[in-house]
Assembly symmetry: C2
Homo-oligomer: 338 residues x 2
């Protein structure tokens, strides 16, 4: 099945899966949204202005919804999931602010990136503020175990970003390097989101591990798809097609095509990688090679494998409405980027 | 007494005060240094390279030494002070990495700033890594109260930096604004350092508050002196004279001189503020005005007032060798910048 057929086949079902997740978490999510707004506040005007600009630009708040749904999967959520979910979203937004500075991104969520409006300096500092606030909320929730999960995630995410930076434009980047990078920079926060969620629902031991594994596999799938979307399937997502290529990011489609491509194809790709001002025709030429070598399809296929692993992890939990919806959401995540 | 006379008068005594602090904390500090090195490590090569470049450049590690001395002030340190001290130093180094990006600094601790060697991108990300590691160590120490102190400090420090950025070059910046900025960006971490220190030594209630107040007042004094040193007393400290002026920072010497200065003096200062390529003669002209208006002396005099408040706070604790050395160290801190 081609990528576009895959997209088409699941589009309808998956919209429904996310709508069900939204419905399922809406009561908790109202509290999370209130908490997010109040904790993004500060007597220093520029802080809430910048933070809200990013936060209110939306995104579907997938990560906090995952935390909330995970908290209810065992049927006895403590209430701590509200603070955990807000903390996870703050960590995510802090990462976005710093990433946009690191990647020199112009756009985020369909609007000019915060750094284009307030500058790199304020973006770095407000990211730090949000991280501090995230930890304050975690401390208030009062669980050292959950704090351990999130502080570890913060360090691992940063390590993943550094590794990605170190590997930028490096044609020797292996598939294993790539999996290590996306495991750290993306999947670790999904893992933390679902892990602290189920912990707020009284989950421990194998159940906690299963929910952590679900989040991690889902995060891998999510990033694999994101890296496919960057080559042109993600029109209208507020992302610039070809950004990864221009930034020299060694994503799986590139790694696969470099492995299988002809000398000429390899040369075309390597010339384009990291070319900051690469125009549409350059991106289009690379995309043609990626398609010809089946690199986008193969990447999508691997994403589906990780979705299956995510769903298998859920099977270790007792059956419930929340569990079923999380299983469907995993499939949705390979279809759309947030 | 002029600034240079003040310097001269205390130079000898204060060197001794810090040497005594170093001796006093050396057994603990060996453990802290080991912990710092091991926690700056990562399988991602660039992380320890960059982190160690900064960490090993030195600085006297004043903040962790304050944590250690504060832990022993009541005579029954738990051992947690080792992790707290390392966490405080990591938070400080994370802040330095981000500040140097924000300020576009070229030098730090007498060497090219990390961002000049590894770039802004890696500096932002390794700062994030160190912050994550700081929280992991705090979690391991297992005190939610201490975590509360440090997570709050992280958020407040970032707010202070944003406020400083928002006020850069703004001639209406008041003394109150300035005190708010340095309270947040500098004094808050000194406060946290001594507060978690005494907590590791079993301090609570009024004793904990007194040590927090000591740290905060000491931090204010430290920053006031730092802002004087930027106008030329700090030769050999690895700092570029005039950096604050070039960055448009509204420090107290500038605020005082703008208040008292003639129209011509005000104009000279305002023209120079934020002039990125201001040469030595521009800085020298501003310094002449600051001296003529007594702005540097007045700033030093205020620093001494805060040292006195810091020392007064210590008097609420039982007498001890550690307490006496901390009192002397406060005086030292107004003499030298680290």
């Amino acid at each position: 099945m081609s990528v576009s057929q895959l997209n088409e086949a699941h589009e309808k079902d998956n919209g429904v899966a996310v709508d069900r997740l939204i419905d399922l978490t809406s009561a908790d999510m109202d509290q999370v949204n209130d908490l997010i707004l109040s904790r993004a506040d500060s007597h220093v005007e520029m802080v809430p202005q910048l933070a809200r600009y990013l936060i209110e630009a939306g995104g579907k708040r997938l990560r906090p919804m995952l935390t909330l749904a995970s908290a209810h999967v065992l049927g006895n959520a403590s209430g701590n999931q509200i603070k955990y979910a807000a903390a996870v979203e703050f960590m995510h937004n802090a990462t976005l602010l710093h990433d946009d500075v690191v990647d020199e991104s112009d756009m985020r969520r369909g609007k000019p990136a915060a750094r284009k409006v307030w500058g790199n300096q304020a973006s770095v500092l407000v990211g730090d503020f949000l991280l501090g606030q995230a930890f304050m909320m975690m401390v208030e929730a009062g669980s050292l175990d959950a704090l351990d999960v999130l502080s570890r995630a913060a360090a691992v995410i940063a390590e993943g970003e550094v590794l990605q930076l170190a590997k930028a434009g490096n044609e020797d980047t292996s598939e294993a390097d790539y999996m290590q990078i996306i495991g750290a920079k993306t999947a670790k926060l999904f893992e933390a989101a679902t892990e602290v969620g189920v912990m707020a629902g009284g989950g421990s031991g194998e159940k906690r591990q299963a929910m952590a594994r679900y989040g991690f596999e889902l995060g891998l799938a999510f990033q694999l798809v994101d890296d496919v979307l960057d080559y042109g399937l993600g029109v209208g997502l507020g992302k610039n097609v070809g950004d990864d290529l221009r930034e020299g990011k060694m994503t799986l489609p590139i790694i696969l095509a470099l492995k299988d491509g002809s000398e000429l194809e390899r040369k075309t790709i390597l010339n384009a990688l990291g070319q900051e001002d690469a125009d549409d025709s350059v991106v289009s030429n690379v995309r043609t090679i990626l398609n010809r070598r089946g690199a986008l399809e193969e990447t999508m296929s691997r994403a589906h494998q990780h979705v299956e692993k995510a769903q298998a992890a859920l099977m270790e939990l007792p059956t419930s409405l929340h569990r079923d919806i999380l299983a469907d959401v995993a499939l949705f995540c390979v279809q759309r980027a947030y």
